[in-house]
């Protein structure tokens, strides 16, 4: 190797390492900041207590967040997968309907969440008279994650080779059977990725939920109770109380919560996948 090539090689290496180094450093410092600050004011009481005064136990918020994530997925996942299957498997590619639908989906996935929040507020909270409630929050974030679910499920389905479908048809399997038994199971990892993205979006959501699910810090009685999620609580505690210690502790719990949900989603996907 000539010396010029060697130098270029070293410079290129340096560039790549610099890139990964800076990205990692930023991420790690955020993580460390939250962990170090959070752990100081974290206590068993603060996370799990059922009798602590309002705002001094995260349990109601953890339960609210969990309810909203699970119900939103229960509503949006079947719709999203169904829509993606239609777009990728049944609709005529490049027909006008598909073009319009795709354009809508792309636009919807780029809309700021406060717009969804405003819609949810005007429609569910006011027009339907649901007031601030978990169900208004659930329906609002369901709409919000639908475009994410459709787009990434569609990508996952598109990545499944035609040869799998051909193999199934050649054995006398119909189209629906082929999709259900071959295509969707093969795409399960991609679908899981969309679920994880959606979980992240819902858990991290503040604006839309502030307007729809409300800010009550008590244990929810049912789906018409108002209830703050962890993120909404973090917003309240930071902006309205200026209590950074509790905010850090909440952030730490929130991160653990997301990690836990992702692991759960992974576990379920592995159970669904037979091999």
């Amino acid at each position: 190797m000539s010396s010029k090539r060697k130098i270029i090689n070293i410079l290129n290496h340096a560039r790549v390492y610099f890139g990964i180094g800076v990205s990692l450093a930023i991420l790690l410092s955020i993580l460390l900041l939250i962990i170090i600050n959070g752990i100081q004011s974290l206590s068993f009481e603060f996370v799990f207590s059922l009798s602590a005064p309002r705002g001094f136990s995260l349990m109601p918020m953890i339960i609210n967040t969990f309810i909203i994530v699970i119900f939103a997925l229960v509503i949006a996942l079947p719709l999203g997968i169904g829509a993606a299957i239609y777009l990728n498997e049944y609709a005529k590619p490049n027909s006008n309907v598909v073009k319009v639908v795709r354009a809508c989906i792309v636009t919807l996935s780029g809309i700021p969440s406060i717009i969804y929040g405003l819609f949810g507020f005007l429609f569910y909270v006011i027009a339907l008279g649901w007031t601030w409630s978990l169900r208004a929050g659930i329906f609002t974030v369901s709409i919000m994650i639908l475009p994410i679910l459709i787009r990434s499920t569609e990508d996952a389905l598109r990545a499944i080779p035609v040869s799998y479908r051909m193999g199934s048809y050649a054995l006398g399997a119909g189209k629906f059977h082929t999709i259900r038994k071959v295509v969707v199971p093969a795409a399960i990892n991609g679908i899981l990725a969309s679920v994880i993205l959606s979980i992240g979006r819902v858990v991290g959501e503040t604006a839309a939920l502030l307007l729809t699910a409300g800010t009550l810090l008590d244990m929810p009685q049912n789906l018409s109770s108002s209830g703050a999620t962890l993120s909404v609580f973090m917003y309240l505690i930071t902006v309205e109380h200026g209590d950074m210690q509790r905010a850090y502790a909440t952030a730490l719990v929130l991160m653990t919560f997301v990690l836990g949900l992702n692991l759960l989603a992974n576990f379920i996907a592995r159970k669904l996948k037979k091999v």
Binding site: S163, M166, L171
Partner: protein, 249 residues
């Protein structure tokens, strides 16, 4: 005995005519090979026999294809047809499932649920496809972990699992190494005792080694059809002779 009878078949991809007036009979329990240069229509004809062309937009078939005397385009449900006429593809395409589930897929599609019955089918088909000994200890492992040649034999076993009458093979060895190819050829010769085989091949030696009858295709026309020994020793058409002696293609 005739399995397939192909009468005056013309096939179009939108405006392009891919097959011109093809007539031939495929005998039962024999191996029939289709040879010819790329784009001559041999694979198209093969796919017309289990209606895989139905999946291509704008594909139209005229004339008739009879399977045991029944018109497969007018008088037969496509899924019933494909159960009776299996297909092995150019590139091995096992499903991303376990070896066992790959074989059990077809029988399950057609309603077999009983575990002992499925076990019996899986073992029999893997034995028939000469791959049982290699996979019997890894039935629950992913089929994608097998080698290319093993995958192709697995795909053959998968086709056998729905008990077809005819097996269509579209250049089944073109993606494989010589040793795997030899194994598949040996297997195909074994299979003709129970099944009728139609094979498309690029490889003329392969046609002479395994087939009983050969059809030579050129630009969508069937130039010549007859006993393989005759086609390769005393071809009646100049173009066949030119092709098998390697003057083009």
């Amino acid at each position: 005995m005739t399995a397939f009878e192909i009468n005056n078949v013309n096939l179009f991809y939108s405006d392009f005519q891919a097959l011109h007036d093809v007539n031939l009979k495929v005998n039962k329990h024999e191996i029939t090979a289709f040879i010819g240069p790329s784009g001559c229509g041999k694979s198209t004809l093969l796919r017309a026999l289990n209606r895989m062309n139905d999946l291509i937009d704008g594909c139209r078939v005229e004339g008739e294809v009879l399977l045991n005397g029944v018109d497969i385009y007018k008088e037969m449900d496509v899924n019933v047809l494909r159960k009776r006429v299996g297909m092995v593809f150019q590139k091995p395409n096992p499903f991303p499932m376990s070896v066992y589930d790959n074989i059990a897929y077809g029988p399950r599609v057609h309603g077999i649920k009983s575990k002992p019955q499925l076990n019996e089918i899986v073992e029999r088909c893997l034995r028939d496809a000469a791959i049982w000994d290699e996979v019997k200890d890894r039935l629950k492992k992913s089929a994608l972990s097998l080698s290319g040649g093993q995958q192709q034999r697995l795909c053959i076993a998968r086709s056998l699992a729905v008990q077809p009458d005819v097996l269509l093979m579209d250049e089944p060895t073109s993606a494989l190494d010589p040793i795997s190819t030899a194994k598949i050829e040996e297997l195909v010769i074994q299979l003709k005792k129970q099944y009728t085989v139609v094979i498309v091949t690029h490889n003329m030696q392969q046609a002479t080694r395994i087939s009983d009858n050969t059809g030579f295709f050129l630009m969508g026309e069937m130039i010549e059809y007859g006993k393989t020994s005759d086609i390769f020793s005393v071809p009646s058409d100049k173009r066949t002779e030119d092709y098998i002696t390697g003057r083009f293609g």
